[in-house]
Amino acid sequence: MDEIDIESALNEIENESDDEDEVQISLPEIIQLMEETWLNEKFSPEILPNKMEIVELLLDQITTLETNLKKLNNSDFKKGLYQMEVDRLRFLISSYLRKRLEKIEIFCTAILEQEKLRSQQGKDNYLSQNELQFAQEYDQSIKDNFESVMRFCPGIIETQIISPNIHSMVFLKSKENIDGIVIDDGNDDNDLIDLTTGAQVLIGYKSISNLVKNGDVHLI
């Protein structure tokens, strides 16, 4: 069964029942955005700016879809297909948020410091409000634990901050024509590359981290 078919079919029932449709972007578009966001988050070594607005849009849609599904007859063949699709969407969201939590936990102190710097410079935070709260509580709980371990001899604690390897290699696909990407490999003689729309390359993450964040390329 073609996936697009199901999605557009889902979109139809969603539109039938929801007369006062306030959302401007359609469900297939949201899903596509969400898939892209999820892949980016999955493959990038560092945490990316949060896309909670997409998550929330999609969650709303899922709730509507589920209420609509309940109206369908159990013996209806379509019901199974729709249910499957809803499950897949929910997995997409869960997996995305889980991946972010994992990164937050491992690079906790490093991420919190970066976030502090960003607030000071007046930039947008990467973490959502709730994630930030989680990060702070997690960080505190680890530090408390370390301190109680070192209780016998206070004052000599020194922890190492774990930060992500932003030089790791990633596969990406370009969505735009981009000229003159500097390949930053630590040497002075930097090479430049140009990307055409749809080009796929393997490249160090640091060279293209900005392009991932502003959406010109996506990781695959």
Binding site: L59, R88, L97, N130, E137, D144, N145, V149
Partner: protein
């Protein structure tokens, strides 16, 4: 040799990759004492070196001792923290596997600090999951991408009655087989009630 005990702490942990060995309080205490002694010794030596360094051109014979002493303290502390940190990471994985209540056999292996940490982690994770969307999202479900709507499961223990979300009540007996919606039985699979027949 310095830091040998700390090293054996780490080895003990890395030997059990899956589970969590009992919290080795004796060895931890011994490592702590070693750090404390070395630290005191370093302080004394440091004071002597600082006093004598005023004499110009004098290379103090205590320098190497001091260096080794301080390196040993650092190594000990790193091992000690690594031991505790990695235990917490294992505990964290268990939170995702078993939910907020730990099986009693694991709980006996923990130190009181670790039990504290677990409940703290559990509550801040719970708070986060409740905050997603309007009425929360349980991230512990949907751990694997769904392949099919229904799966075949084998019941491993006498579980008793189990109600599905559409109101059907099943009697789960040991070795009975069921064909159920995946979303309904995912939690029971992680709890070890069901075995997924592939």
């Amino acid at each position: 040799m310095f830091a040998e005990k700390a090293c054996s702490l780490i080895k003990e942990l890395s030997r059990c990759e899956e589970g969590l060995p009992p919290y080795n309080i004796e060895l931890v205490k011994e490592v702590c004492t070693e750090i404390k002694q070395l630290h005191e010794q370093n302080k004394e030596d440091g004071a002597i070196v600082a006093n004598e360094s005023e004499i110009a051109g004098n290379v103090n014979p205590l320098y190497p001792t001091l260096r080794i002493g301080s390196a040993a303290v650092k190594r000990n502390i790193r091992c000690l923290l690594a031991y505790h940190y990695n235990r917490l990471r294992t505990l964290r994985t268990m939170r995702w596997q078993f939910g907020s209540i730990l099986p009693p056999d694991i709980k006996t292996n923990l130190s009181s600090d670790e039990i504290d940490w677990f409940s703290k982690y559990s509550s801040c994770l719970g708070k986060y999951m409740r905050s997603i969307g309007e009425d929360g999202l349980n991230l512990c479900l949907d751990l694997r991408p769904p392949k099919s709507l229904y799966i075949e499961v084998k019941c491993l223990i006498d579980y008793g009655k189990f109600e599905l979300s559409d109101g059907t009540v099943l009697l789960l007996k040991k070795d009975s087989r069921h064909y159920l919606p995946r979303s309904e039985c995912e939690e029971l699979i992680t709890q070890g009630v069901f075995h997924h027949i592939v």
